[in-house]
Each structure stands twice: as structure tokens, then as C-alpha cells.
């Protein structure tokens, strides 16, 4: 009986160790089995146009991780905060070419390529790092779901659209690995750590 008491500190120590080990990022989303193989949720193929009129497909992100969000320029609610959070990520990983950023405009009517270009220029960012894309409206709204976001046209919503403010981290296999609330600075801080974890994982795989 006495032995159990000796075990307690050992158990505590075990738990203490466990916390120190940096966790691996999970692969998020629904999975299913196909021919005995586990299939993970992934971002579908897409084709949009960015602020420099370049066609942007999954190929642009091949071999890289990227952070995605949905926004629109004239959005009076959460978007400025989302963009500011994206800018935080941009500034932190500015010179790290393993990470890119992708912002989808959901107001495909108003946010034309020249307007997206001006928006990016005013932020002081360029398309070798951060793509602001527009395209077929249905495609843009539909792909939001792949990123666990909701984007809907809604005449009653401020600015004409309802959408959620998740920033999502996608790995080089098109899998979702982490997300945060782009309107919450603390959540973004944690997310910056998740990005580091993924980049470290990518380096491990290269060895």
C-alpha cells in the first residue's frame, strides 16, 4: 500500500515531462477510409486571380505552407482586424519562403483586381508573399468551407456579407493543420507558434 505513495511523485514527473514536449499539429477535419487507406480532409483544386492578374492555383503553394482567410475591402466589421492579424503573420515570416499568405475576397463585384492591388500596396505587401485573390463568386464562397469558414451573401449583414474570421494554416499536402480567431490577438499569438511547429516539421521531413 505504501508503494502507491512513492509512485505519486513519479507520476507527477511523467505528466510534467509530457507538457514540455512540443505537440505535433494534428491533421484537422473529417477522415474516411478508402481501400484501407485513411483519407484526410484537403483543400480542393482551385483557380483564382491575384492582385497582379496572375492565375493562382494550388500549384503556387506546392511544397509550401500557407495561411488563408476570407475578407472584403469595404467590410465594416471584422475584416480590418483579420487583415491586421494576417499582417502580423506576414511581418513575422516575411523573409521565410516556406510560408505564403492567401486572402480571398468574397465581394467579387466590388473588389476588382485594381482595388485589390491598391489594398495590397497600401498595406506595403507584394504578391511574392501574399496573394489577394478574386474569381468566380460561387467558387470563392464554396471554398471557404474547405477552410472551415462560412461566407454567405446576406443583404441584412453590414456590408452585404456574413462570414467568419478564421485564419487557417494549410500544409504542403493541402491538409488543414491549425486555425485561430483572426479577431483575437491572443489566439493569433498561439497560432504564430503553430506555424513555427509546422515549419519545423517540414524541415524534419527534408532531412
Amino acid at each position: 500500500m505504501k508503494n502507491i505513495f512513492y509512485l505519486i511523485p513519479v507520476l507527477l514527473l511523467l505528466f510534467a515531462c509530457k507538457e514540455e514536449v512540443k505537440e505535433e499539429l494534428p491533421i484537422l477535419g473529417n477522415t474516411y477510409e478508402e481501400a484501407g487507406k485513411k483519407i484526410y480532409h484537403e483543400i480542393r483544386d482551385f483557380s483564382f486571380v491575384n492582385q497582379d492578374s496572375m492565375t493562382i492555383t494550388n500549384e503556387v503553394f506546392a511544397g509550401k505552407a500557407y495561411v488563408s482567410d476570407h475578407f472584403f475591402i469595404s467590410c465594416p466589421t471584422i475584416c480590418p482586424k483579420l487583415t491586421k492579424s494576417m499582417l502580423r503573420i506576414h511581418d513575422k515570416f516575411k523573409s521565410d519562403d516556406r510560408l505564403l499568405l492567401l486572402s480571398h475576397s468574397i465581394d467579387t463585384k466590388y473588389d476588382t483586381i485594381p482595388r485589390l492591388k491598391k489594398y495590397a500596396n497600401d498595406l506595403g505587401v507584394s504578391s511574392d508573399k501574399w496573394h489577394f485573390v478574386t474569381g468566380d463568386k460561387e467558387q470563392i464562397l464554396d471554398i471557404a468551407e474547405d477552410y472551415f469558414n462560412v461566407a454567405l451573401e446576406d443583404a441584412d449583414a453590414p456590408g452585404g456579407y456574413n462570414h467568419s474570421g478564421r485564419l487557417v494554416l494549410v500544409d504542403k499536402n493541402k491538409h488543414l493543420r491549425a486555425f485561430c480567431d483572426g479577431t483575437d490577438a491572443e489566439s493569433v499569438t498561439k497560432f504564430l507558434g503553430d506555424i513555427e511547429t509546422l515549419l519545423a516539421e517540414m524541415d524534419q521531413e527534408k532531412l
Binding site: T77, P80, K81, G124
Partner: protein
């Protein structure tokens, strides 16, 4: 003697409490304005008043607040469609007005932003704001 000691104690506690309460007031006299700011303005101008570089002008350290103090009430109520220059930078993104704020609430917001984040642009009186708002009154919003 005991009674005097007790009265003295009560006296000390009273002084202490008023000092505490007074300090509470002093540290942030614009609580109402702050709450309104956080609900109606901070989405774009941010909690720390820094705005969004190139797109939404800052309020913290903004020369505009001083130079165009008499325009602030109407900007808050009706928004902005024209370009603005703040600290030498031009901004073109339109701002939506907040028509639901009363004259007093507009005043409270102005006094909050004029004293937050190191700003020190003096106190705005509600009566002045009322006169300004009457002058720029628009029929239908």
C-alpha cells in the same frame, strides 16, 4: 480615549477610501466613451487606435484630431466619403457613420479618443458638439 482612537480610525479609513475612489476616477474618466469606442469603432481603428496601415487611419497620435477637431462630431455621425490626410498619409477607404449615437455619446467618444493612447487634445463640451451636429444635420440617413 478609546472613543477618540475609534474616530481617528474611521477618519483614516474614510480618507483612504476616498483617495482610492478618487484615483479610480482619475485613471480613466472616459469609461463610457471607451465602451462605445470598443463597440462601434475598434473593429477598424483597433483597440489600440493604430488603425490599419494604408487603409484605415490611426487615431493614436493623429494630427487630424487636433487640426480638424470641429469635424469630428459629424464624421462620427455621418461617416466619411472623401479622402482624408492623417499624419501626411492619404486615406481613401470610406468610413461608415454611426447614426445611432446620441449627441452626448458622440461627445463621450470624442473625449475618449482625445485622451487615450497618449493623446492629449483637450476636453470637448457636449454643448459645442450639439451646435456642430445641428449645423451638419442631414435629412435621411
Amino acid at each position: 480615549m478609546n472613543k477618540i482612537n475609534f474616530l481617528y480610525l474611521v477618519f483614516l479609513v474614510t480618507i483612504g477610501m476616498s483617495a482610492y475612489l478618487f484615483q479610480g476616477c482619475q485613471s480613466n474618466p472616459y469609461v463610457h466613451g471607451q465602451i462605445l469606442y470598443e463597440n462601434f469603432c475598434a473593429n477598424c481603428h483597433m483597440e489600440d487606435g493604430t488603425g490599419l496601415i494604408g487603409n484605415i487611419p490611426p487615431l493614436a497620435g493623429a494630427d487630424f484630431l487636433k487640426n480638424y477637431a470641429d469635424q469630428l462630431p459629424c464624421i462620427i455621425r455621418y461617416g466619411v466619403k472623401d479622402t482624408l490626410v492623417v499624419n501626411g498619409q492619404t486615406y481613401t477607404t470610406p468610413m461608415a457613420g454611426i447614426p445611432q449615437l446620441t449627441d452626448i455619446e458622440v461627445t463621450n467618444v470624442i473625449n475618449y479618443i482625445n485622451h487615450a493612447w497618449g493623446n492629449d487634445n483637450g476636453f470637448t463640451r457636449p454643448t459645442d458638439v450639439q451646435v456642430i451636429l445641428e449645423a451638419c444635420k442631414q435629412e435621411e440617413l
